[in-house]
């Protein structure tokens, strides 16, 4: 993404970006770094998606047609790790980098050099993780949740641990950067409650990351020690407990899934308000709802563990606490609907993705509420019902919000409008694809098909075939997205600074494409 347009009004003690490869290696510019993160995430999305297509190809029919179960488990594991740590999280960080300084009227992030390091650690981490493919024993095959003791004795687990440590360091540094930036560099007049919701969502997400990424680091360190240094954190033989692993992991894991959705909430609020040409309904309750969700996310982790044999008291507590999260989440959904109600609405591509997010994420929330009911969860746990739930909240949830954000802000980043007809085509193909893929998974899950199964009994065949067809439709449609984005970088109808009639916020007061340096002089906010 070139942002070569220079603003002639400024005194020139900074130049435009360097030319060539070194620019990208050494950049401390938040726009460049945002671009790096976004392209990295797109590449990861395509790679993780390729693994998903491998999984669905194998699951198209009962039986092992394409691969042995060892390979299958590797695909399942890598699909999860790449999509979460390479796809969704870096994409949101990329959006944070591009948008937070622009939206608060700051010239850049608080710590630009650490920002560069945060990004470049990611390819290193993934290099380490993917290098296990060339080693004996191969890629990790223990699921992205890597429960002990399966993972403790698995080949090449040390490389997995190192990769996670490095990704964690990247996230932690990024989050520190985000919080320090937001707390210190808002333009004069921008109180916290005047801050745009995307910035709020990232402020909260960053605190969650600070709190729980170190816990993940602790979990993988304990795993490494059990595997190589003779400790028994998770080994009953030495007085340890495999269930301890699950507690530590999910203490990280649950807030992690909120980390992956809160920025989506922020994005959705911006887009729905813009295309309804109406201010967001209940701005402050949206903030409070996000804070409540974040706080509650710390006390519900064991709903991932209802079948490990916890005492009744614990199971009741986690059931009730989990059900509670539905309330602030519901408030947000209602507020989006109330924003649309009596608006003046147009349905450009970002709006299509945002509305699809509201509807389909809510469906994912419904299956989540069902999962919260512990006695029913004894039937759902570790079946495709869970897989359907989390794919609904992650794919037409997080991923759609990222796509919405890309369409919405691409004109600001590149100075060109994307092709609206193609954008809509991409939307409809994705929308149909995603539902054909994941809705039938509710059925096979309820009928009893377990997850992480390379092969399955005959009664699950029909819906699995449908799901696989949907997956291929969805997967191939993303190539259209790639084409649309690349094309827009280089060509398209010129965008105005405002871009969207109805858009509000400091980013829409600068040129499109945004100049390489913006807000060297902070704007005054009323």
């Amino acid at each position: 993404m070139s942002a070569v347009v220079e603003n002639h009004d400024h005194h020139d003690d900074h130049h435009g970006p360097k030319k060539g490869l070194m620019r990208w290696l050494k950049t401390t510019n938040h726009k460049d770094i945002g671009t790096l993160y976004l392209w990295f995430a797109f590449a990861a999305f395509l790679l993780g998606g390729a693994f998903a297509m491998g999984i669905r190809a194998e699951l198209f029919e009962p039986g092992l047609q394409l691969m042995d179960p060892i390979r299958y488990n590797q695909l399942v594991t890598m699909h999860g790790l790449i999509m979460i740590f390479g796809g969704v999280m870096p994409a949101f960080v990329g959006l944070a980098n591009w948008l937070i300084p622009l939206q608060i009227g700051a010239p850049d992030m608080a710590m630009p050099r650490m920002n560069n390091l945060s990004f470049w650690l990611l390819p290193v981490a993934f290099g380490i993780l993917l290098s296990t493919a060339f080693m004996e024993g191969g890629l990790p095959g223990f699921g992205w949740t890597f429960y002990a003791p399966l993972s403790t004795n698995y080949p090449n687990v040390a490389y997995f641990v190192f990769a996670i440590h490095i990704m964690g360091a990247s996230s932690i540094m990024g989050s520190i950067n985000v919080i320090v930036t937001i707390m210190n560099m808002r333009a004069p007049g921008m109180t916290l409650m005047k801050m745009p919701l995307f910035v709020w969502s990232w402020l909260i997400t960053a605190y969650l990351l600070i709190a729980v990424m170190p816990v993940l680091a602790g979990a993988v360190t304990m795993l490494l020690m059990d595997a190589y240094f003779g400790t028994s954190f998770f080994d009953a033989a030495g007085g340890g407990d495999p269930v301890l692993f699950q507690h530590v992991f999910w203490f990280f894991g649950h807030p992690e899934v909120y980390i992956m959705i809160l920025p989506a909430f922020g994005i959705t609020s911006h887009i729905i308000s813009t295309f309804s040409r109406k201010p967001l309904f209940g701005h402050s309750s949206m903030v409070y709802a996000m804070v409540s969700i974040a706080v509650l996310s710390f006390v519900v982790w064991a709903h991932h563990m209802f079948t490990v044999g916890m005492p009744l008291v614990a199971e009741l507590f986690f059931m009730w606490a989990t059900m509670l999260i539905a309330i602030p989440t519901g408030v947000k959904v209602f507020n989006w609907c109330a924003t649309i109600f009596k608006g003046s609405i147009t349905y450009e591509t970002p709006m299509l993705f945002a509305i699809a997010f509201v509807v389909l994420f809510t469906i994912g929330g419904f299956s989540g509420l069902m999962l919260a009911i512990t006695p029913a969860d004894f039937q759902y746990h570790d079946t495709y019902f869970v897989v359907a739930h989390f794919h609904y909240v992650l794919v037409p949830g997080s991923v759609f919000s990222i796509m919405a954000a890309v369409y919405y802000w691409l004109p600001k980043w590149t100075g060109n409008m994307y092709d609206e007809k193609m954008g809509r085509l991409h939307f409809w193909l994705s929308f149909i694809g995603v539902n054909i893929t994941f809705f039938p998974q509710h059925f096979v899950g309820l009928a009893g098909m377990p997850r992480r199964y390379a092969d399955y009994a005959l009664q699950f065949a029909e819906w699995n075939a449908v799901s696989s067809v949907g997956a291929f439709l969805f997967g191939l449609s993303q190539l259209l997205f790639l084409y649309i984005v690349v094309k827009t970088v280089f060509a398209g109808k010129k965008a105005t600074p405002q871009v969207w009639d109805g858009a509000d916020g400091l980013e829409w007061t600068v040129d499109s494409p945004a100049p390489y340096h913006t807000f060297d002089v902070p704007p005054k906010v009323k």
């Binding site: 608080a110 650490m114 170190p214 602790g218 033989a237 301890l244 203490f251 008291v313 614990a314």
Partner: protein, 184 residues
């Protein structure tokens, strides 16, 4: 940030938070153990008990204890309780034993771990003497009888009348012995 990030209060406090959370995850290990002891989660029970520490008010009742055994990792040891069931009175010390046979011509070092179900009962099953307190060694082909002396204290929840005490045997070491003739 002309004074450098380290002068910024927010930055320093965030660094502190990160460090704290990392060590917190390690604190989860002893915290988990304490929590387990208090609530009986996962039926973990620890160490020997002093028989003489008890209340004067005792409400005696009968409890059924069932003994289970599991050999982990398909270790080549035959391991089973000498009796499957015992009816015991609360606060009264009972004795039972487990029998273990080494089915190989190698010396085996073993560790045995107890588990109580329901979890509620874990804190009420007090062991005075148990082979699970230390590692055990079995010479090639050797059979040993391992005693357990325990009591169920009367604070056991009224809802529980049946308790399962399970031992899992883990092989820690397998040592090849030089060829020896065995007289049996």
């Amino acid at each position: 940030m002309s004074n450098g990030p380290l002068k910024n209060k927010v930055f320093v406090s965030l660094l502190g938070a990160v460090t704290f959370m990392f060590f917190f995850s390690f604190m989860l290990v002893p915290l988990y153990n304490v929590f387990c002891e208090v609530t009986g989660l996962n039926g973990k029970i620890y160490g020997p008990s002093d028989f003489f520490k008890k209340n004067n008010e005792t409400y005696e009742r009968q409890v059924n204890i069932r003994f289970l055994s599991t050999v982990n990792g398909s270790a080549p040891v035959t391991f089973y309780p000498s009796e499957t069931n015992l009816e015991v009175m609360t606060d009264k010390v009972s004795r039972t034993s487990y029998i273990a046979t080494n089915n190989t011509n190698k010396k085996l070092t073993l560790s045995i771990v107890p588990s109580v179900s329901p979890g509620l009962a874990a804190e009420n099953v007090k062991k005075i003497q148990c082979f699970c307190f230390s590692e055990q060694t079995l010479e090639p082909y050797e059979t040993q009888e391992w005693p357990v002396r325990f009591y169920v204290d009367s604070e056991l929840s009224e809802n529980v009348n049946n308790v399962y005490l399970s031992y899992t045997l883990f092989e820690k070491e397998r040592e090849e012995m030089l060829a020896v003739n065995h007289e049996h």
